[in-house]
Every structure is written in C-alpha cells, then in structure tokens.
C-alpha cells in the first residue's frame, strides 16, 4: 500500500452533496463535527470546494433534476476518492421509491463505496461507516 493512500486514510476531507435531502441527515453530519464526536481527531474535515474533497457524503433522494449535478460533482472530485451514501433516501429511496421523479438509489447514478442506513443515521453510525471504509482502503 502506497504512502499517499495511507496518508489519505488519516486525512479524509469531506464534501457534502445535498441531493434533495430533507435536511435531517445534513444536521446529523454536522453533529459529527461537534465537540462531542470531534471527527477532526481522525483528520476528518469538512471542506467548501469539491476540488479539495476525498469523500463525497451524498444525502437525499436523488431525483432526475439532481442526477447531472451529482454526476458532475463526482467527476470534479480529484481521484482517489470515495462516495458515501448517507441515509435511507440515498441508499434505497425510502418512501419516495414509487415517486414519478426518482432517478433510483444513488448507486444507480454513481459508484458508491459505503452505505449508512438510518432516517437519519446517528453520528455513531456514520463514524462506524468511516472506520469500515478506512479498513477497506487499507486492506
């Protein structure tokens, strides 16, 4: 395993993609950065520009309007990078599954590396997913 990839697992910069969420997952994501959970001790930081991102956190039920934007953001992220689907909506469309404007779960649009279920998922669940992802990257 290369040195740079090893460093990546210790310094994951996260970019937040809101693909029409109800805002509930987003608030839980911000919870992870609060003093109680303090993700910065693992080097995880929220960044403002997708060019600085190592991980995309996608929340919300992806609809047809969102698809080009989500794809564009995925292409704009410098590789290597990972995609994490946060919440039931991004993972499985939840109660919107039968809606006319759904483009399908996130993994039908872009490749997804980790799924975090919950409506909304707890910060503990997100931390667990990140730990699992880091383990996957290292192996």
């Amino acid at each position: 395993m290369s040195v740079t990839l090893k460093a990546l697992t210790r310094s994951i910069w996260v970019f937040h993609v809101a693909a029409s969420p109800c805002n509930n997952c987003d608030i839980e994501i911000l919870d992870c950065l609060t003093p109680k959970f303090d993700l910065e001790r693992f080097g995880i930081q929220l960044v403002g520009s997708v060019r600085h991102a190592d991980a995309l956190l996608v929340t919300g039920a992806v609809n047809h309007k969102c698809v080009p934007r989500v794809k564009r953001l995925y292409e704009q992220m410098p590789k290597p990078g990972v995609v994490i689907a946060v919440g039931n909506c991004a993972c499985s469309m939840e109660i919107f599954a039968d809606s006319y404007n759904m483009a399908g779960p996130l993994d039908k649009v872009i490749p997804v590396d980790a799924y975090i279920m919950g409506c909304p998922p707890k910060p503990e669940a997100m931390i667990e997913a990140v730990v699992a992802l880091v383990g996957k990257l290292r192996s």
């Binding site: 460093a7 001790r41 960044v47 403002g48 060019r51 600085h52 190592d54 410098p78 290597p80």
Partner: protein
C-alpha cells in the same frame, strides 16, 4: 562549494525543510489550541504532514478555461518566495555579522509579499468566478496591511539605525528589545494584527472565506498544486512571526547558546498561540471593514510609533 552551501541553506536548513517542518508544527498548535478552546480533543501531531502527503497522491485538475502554466506556476512561486524569505531571516539570526547584507529587511518584506501575489495570480488564472472574488479581495488586503506592517519594521530600522537584520539583532542584544520601548509596543500591536491578515487567518480570511465563497482563491486547486500552496502557508507560518521576533522582540539569539535559541523560539510560539486565540474569538470582517481598519487606526498607530521612534522613545 559556496554555491552548494547556499543551496543547502535554502533547501534544507534553515530554509525549506526546516521552516516547513516548524510551520507544520505551528499549524498543529493552531488546530490543537482551537480544539481545546472548543472543548475538543483535536488532531494528532502529524496531521499537517498527513494532509500534505495525501494531497501529493491526488489528481491535479486544471480548469478547462484556465491558463495552465500560470495556474500551476503560482503555487511554486508562492513556495519559493516564502522559502527565500524564511532562509534570509533565519540566516540573519544564526550569523548576524556574516550572513546579512545592507537592505535585507527590505528584501525580506518584499519576498513575504510573494505568496499573496501568487495567490491572486493563481486565482485569476483559474477563471472561476468565486476564485476571482477571492483574488480581488486578497489584492485589496495586501494593499491594506502592507503600509502599517512596513511602518512597524521601520520603527526597528530607526531604532537600530541600520537596514540590516543582523545589525538590528545586535543592536537589540546590546540595548534591549525594540518592543520594550513605547514606540516598540505600538509597533508590536500593529505588527501582530498585520501578521494575522498576512497569514490569512480569521478575522482577516476574507480571501478564503470558506462559508461564503467556498475557499475563494483556492477553490480550483487540487492535489499536488494545493499541497504546494499548503507548504507555502506552513513556511509563512514560520517566516512571518520570525521576522516580527527578529525586528521587534529581540530576535532568536544563536550566539547566546541554547537558552537564547529556546527563548527566541518561545517568542515565536507565543505569537502563534496569540494568532490562534485572536482567530478563535473574532468573527470574519468584511473586506471594506478590513481596509478601513488597516488604513485607519492601524496606520495612524504605526505612524505614531515611527514619530516616537524618531524622537528616541
């Protein structure tokens, strides 16, 4: 042999490697103190190194509409000017009699403007609208803080009666720090606030403003290009406080043995912690507020300090 020695000084000690390592430590101090202020644990000691190494392994994306060589050349320019400035100031502290020349204060100030200029050029070369907002803000900020900062350094120059960093250090060794006099105190206050703006820290981070223009001037940078920018930031974190210590606070006394060196580095660390505390207790100002602040009260105080220094106070 001389050329080889000079190259080693710029690349390793006390130039790039040494200054960047110190700057990474500064960045860690900043993040750790911030975390403690917010009642968090904070990142590990090697976090800045992890960040840079990671960025070196990432893809570099150049915007299709941007000017490629200017966009990628700007970070290199930033890093080289910052490194040269750091080397110059360190050399004057290590060998105040031998390694300095008349006017090196001016050269150091000039070189320290380099990273800001590079940031502006790189931002405009990316052709991103948010980056140009950040770039134009950085340009105005440079115009704002350069005048009071130069006046502060002028206080030390008047006191010591020399344009050589080495002479300023030796004068302070003989007569006490410039910062211990009335004009010196005023100059120190202004210099610390100018340093805050020059390092792009809150409340003067208008050019980057993450919550507002998403990283501003740096928005399009990724991978190694961003890593080089980060490195230039780290070197600046060493060079700028060191210049303030060298001119106003008695300098780093390599001739006084381990105690002198530790005392000097202690002053640098104190400036870092001060900058961190300022950044954690203040909200970001608008660019017009920053301009008024530096051209108004700060320039007046700095000018008063220069007049007092001329009067011998």
């Amino acid at each position: 042999m001389e050329a080889l020695k000079a190259a080693a000084a710029v690349v390793a000690y006390p130039g790039f490697v040494f200054s960047a390592a110190l700057g990474m430590f500064a960045s860690w101090v900043d993040r750790k103190v911030t975390a403690r202020v917010q009642w968090r644990v904070g990142p590990p000691l090697l976090q800045p190194l992890y960040d840079v190494v990671k960025l070196l392994g990432k893809e570099t994306i150049v915007p299709a509409e941007g000017v490629r060589w200017v966009f990628l050349g700007a970070p290199v320019f930033a890093l080289s000017t910052a490194t040269l400035a750091a080397t110059l100031v360190w050399q004057s502290q290590i060998a105040p009699a031998a390694q300095t020349f008349v006017g090196d204060v001016i050269v150091a100030l000039y070189l320290l403007t380099g990273p800001a200029v590079a940031l502006v050029i790189g931002a405009f070369a990316s052709r991103n609208p948010l980056a140009s907002v950040g770039g134009s803000r950085e340009m105005k900020l440079v115009l704002a803080y350069e005048l009071p900062l130069t006046l502060c350094i002028l206080v030390a120059v008047i006191k010591a009666g020399s344009l050589r960093l080495g002479d300023i250090l030796l004068w302070q060794a003989a007569n006490g720090a410039v910062g211990a006099s009335l004009s010196g105190v005023l100059a120190c206050v202004v210099a610390v606030l100018c340093m805050q703006a020059k390092l792009g820290l809150v409340p003067f981070d208008v050019a980057e403003a993450e919550t507002e223009i998403m990283g501003g001037a740096l928005i399009e940078y990724s991978g190694p290009a961003l890593a080089v920018y980060k490195l230039s930031r780290f070197v600046m974190l060493t060079a700028l406080p060191l210049l303030v210590v060298a001119t106003l606070l008695g300098g780093v006394r390599f001739d006084a043995g381990a105690r002198g060196v530790l005392l000097g580095l202690g002053k640098v660390v104190l400036l870092w912690v001060g900058a961190t505390l300022i950044r954690n207790t203040n909200p970001r100002v608008r660019i017009d507020q920053a301009l008024l602040f530096f051209w108004g009260p700060m320039t007046i105080v700095a000018a008063a300090a220069v007049v007092l220094a001329m009067a011998g106070l």
